[in-house]
């Protein structure tokens, strides 16, 4: 009898214990992964977005449709403004291609363009190609909790791994505890100087998932420069196989 009780207690404790273990098992890396999977974790996705580039003296807005499959495939179609509508970009693994209908020309992105802003924005081609490096290229640590826009967030410090092929020294991310949304990210160089700040806001539910529908990028040394991304529509797990993400399709997609 005592033994059975002990076993029950033991099992109960195991149960309780495993709950706390489970709670401890949400370590920093997991948090970052969950946040990353918001956009990249689904099998596939389709979105309609607009990107506004703000500079002292002018601003410009581009609208596009975006299809993704896993982490390795993405196809983007520019829909506005008219001069650039019809251009498509294809990402396959670490390669990026662009198609321009006005000259019927398919171009592979050369290394010299990696550091340039995509379509002239503060979002570099490099950023686009290496979105998922946040999980594998850094060592993560929870350093606190802060509230942003009324939501409580984990404050996570990410130190770049020695062998990771990234220029950043560290990042600090504020990831919302409830929905694992990245509400703010600060990117630092190796010497600890802030280079860029990204903020996520305008939280909406799209296709059953909670996401930040507005993302803002601000370079630290040029605060008058900004890139704003606005997600108008997003669908997950759309029917699209690898064959969709092909050079032929780049020319056909509408």
């Amino acid at each position: 009898m005592k033994n059975r009780f002990a076993t029950l207690l033991f099992l109960l404790m195991q149960g309780l214990g495993s709950n706390t273990l489970f709670a401890q098992a949400i370590n920093a890396t997991d948090i970052v992964r969950k946040a990353d999977e918001k956009f990249n974790g689904e099998k596939s996705s389709y979105s309609v977005m607009s990107m506004t580039i703000i500079r002292p003296g002018w601003q410009r807005t581009i609208e596009f449709k975006n299809w993704t499959l896993g982490r390795d495939f993405a196809l983007t179609l520019i829909t506005a403004p008219p001069k650039e509508a019809g251009q498509t970009f294809l990402k396959r693994g670490s390669e990026m291609w662009s198609w321009n209908p006005s000259i019927s020309r398919l171009i592979k992105l050369p290394p010299s363009m990696m550091s340039q802003g995509w379509m002239g924005s503060d979002y570099t081609n490099d950023d686009i190609l290496r979105e998922s490096s946040v999980v594998i290229d850094y060592i993560h640590e929870i350093i606190g909790e802060e509230s942003i826009g009324g939501r409580l967030c984990y404050k996570i410090r990410m130190i770049a791994r020695e062998d990771a092929s990234i220029v950043w020294g560290k990042q600090i991310r504020w990831i919302d505890k409830k929905d694992f949304l990245v509400l703010k990210a600060e990117l630092y160089d190796e010497d600890g100087y802030l280079v860029r700040t990204e903020t996520g806001s305008n939280i909406k539910i799209m296709d059953g998932r909670t996401i930040t529908s507005k993302i803002e990028l601000v370079p630290e040394e040029e605060p008058e420069n900004k890139t704003l991304i606005d997600i108008r529509e997003m669908k997950f797990n759309i029917p699209a196989g690898e064959s969709f993400f092909s050079q032929q399709n780049m020319k056909r997609v509408r």
């Binding site: 001069k83 650039e84 006005s102 171009i107 050369p110 379509m119 002239g120």
Partner: protein
């Protein structure tokens, strides 16, 4: 004073030989100094001229940020009334608009970064004149075949031609320079060679939609007149710029660096391509001469005409501080060389003065003994030296003028490898003299000073003169 003058004059003609020898030393001093400085200044002038006449211009009007960041975003609106107003400024020879940027040029599977310079085909004739750089002759297999078929050309001349296989030329002069044939061979064979190597070419019309491609770039992209090239880049405010352009002509740029990556198109075509309506990146202003004073004056006048603080005029040396430093450095070396010359010259003058004094020791002794005041004697001798100096100076200057003028209009033409490299850097391979200018008078002034210095010696000697010793002879 008049008396001293008369005596001095007579003294000079009394001993003609001595007079001639002394004034000759001054003559040669002035002559050499002027010629040497003329050559030095001539070559800097030449270098600068080559650069600013057809490359950077005397003055450029640009967006203030353009020099540090030559991006198309740092362009400004072309304003016809202002451009005309600038042309109207005194001593302005030409005002030429440019729109410049960097792009990727692509044809078939070949892609290469290139510089685009958009011009006004008519106005540009007064400036860099791309039409003169159109390839006129090319040494290709066909050309050599034609030369062989023509029959008459000797084998060793043909060998020399073959050594320059696949080279292109925009002028027969350059072709002659590179072939390096003897004068005789040149006379006999050159017309034939030119005929066989000739190629047809085209230029840009006003508002043309086509482009000119530099020779090496064209051969990398494997395009010829009539083919098309795709240009891609970032336009105004980050817009993607892409377009297909027909090749109207191929130009040969002397510098291999530039020849590798130059594309020329019309300004309207470029404005359309970069989505930069009505914009240009620079207005190039040429003047009648490049004196610092004129540059500063015209720059100030232009700045008054400009509408806002974002656009300003800059002189060629503000746009090219490194070249300016280089020239300054070189010029100082030149001055040092001149200094060496002066050393030698001074001693030449001094030597003859020394001789003159010792020769006339007796004469001086007699004069002083019979009562002439030493002061008067000194004045006489001073006038003599001044006259000698004046004669030497004037003759020297006059004699140098024909030489300077001749080599200004017909400078020494350099040949061989040196000439070819100079041409590559964009300089004509000649060694000209400089036009008559301030330096002319400066040399004269310096030599005059030397004469004055040399005069001190005889004056001192007279002062110390002891008549009896002098009379002893």
């Amino acid at each position: 004073m008049k008396e001293e003058f008369k005596i001095a004059w007579r003294n000079l003609w009394r001993n003609r030989r001595r007079t001639i020898i002394t004034s000759a030393s001054i003559f040669f001093a002035v002559f050499f100094a002027v010629i040497m400085r003329s050559y030095q200044l001539g070559s800097y002038d030449h270098m600068i001229n080559n650069l600013i006449e057809s490359f950077t211009g005397y003055i450029q009007v640009q967006h203030v940020k353009y020099q540090d960041n030559p991006l198309i975003d740092n362009s400004f609106d072309y304003n016809d009334p202002i451009a005309s107003a600038i042309s109207g400024i005194d001593k302005v020879v030409s005002v030429t608009p440019h729109l410049e940027s960097f792009i990727l040029a692509s044809s078939g599977t070949q892609t290469k970064g290139a510089a685009v310079i958009a011009i006004d085909p008519v106005k540009e004739k007064n400036f860099s004149d791309p039409e003169s750089k159109l390839v006129k002759y090319r040494i290709t297999d066909e050309a050599i075949m034609r030369m062989k078929d023509a029959g008459a050309i000797s084998d060793d001349v043909l060998e020399k031609v073959k050594r320059n296989f696949s080279r292109s030329y925009s002028s027969s002069a350059r072709l002659k320079l590179e072939l390096g044939l003897t004068d005789e061979d040149n006379e006999r064979w050159m017309p034939e060679i030119l005929k066989c190597a000739e190629v047809s070419n085209g230029y840009l019309e006003n508002d043309d939609e086509g482009i000119l491609v530099s020779d090496k770039l064209a051969s990398y992209l494997k395009v010829a007149v009539g083919d098309s090239v795709i240009l891609m880049g970032q336009g105004y405010h980050g817009v993607s710029a892409t377009g297909i352009f027909p090749v109207r002509g191929i130009i040969k740029m002397p510098s291999p660096e530039i020849d590798n990556k130059l594309i020329i198109m019309t300004i309207p075509a470029a404005q359309n391509f970069f989505d930069a309506e009505g914009k240009i990146t620079s207005l190039v202003v040429n003047l009648t001469n490049k004196s610092n004073r004129l540059l500063k004056t015209v720059k100030a006048r232009i700045n008054i005409l400009l509408p806002d603080k974002n656009i300003s005029a800059k002189t060629w040396y503000e746009l090219n501080p490194i070249l300016y430093q280089q020239i300054q450095g070189d010029s100082q070396t030149g001055v040092a060389m001149l200094g060496v010359l002066y050393f030698i010259i001074f001693f030449g003058i001094f030597g003859t003065v020394l001789m003159m004094v010792s020769e006339r020791k007796r004469e001086f002794g007699v004069l002083v003994a019979i009562g002439m005041q030493k002061r008067k004697l000194k004045r006489i001798v001073t006038v003599e030296m001044m006259l000698l100096g004046a004669i030497g100076l004037v003759c020297g200057l006059l004699a140098s003028i024909p030489l300077i003028l001749y080599f200004y209009y017909y400078p020494i033409v350099l040949k061989g490898d040196l000439a070819i490299t100079m041409e590559d850097w964009g300089w004509d391979a000649v060694m000209p003299t400089a036009w008559l200018g301030p330096y002319f008078y400066w040399q004269a002034v310096i030599v005059a000073l030397m004469v004055v210095l040399a005069t001190l010696y005889p004056l001192r000697k007279i002062g110390k003169l002891k008549e009896i010793e002098a009379l002893k002879g």
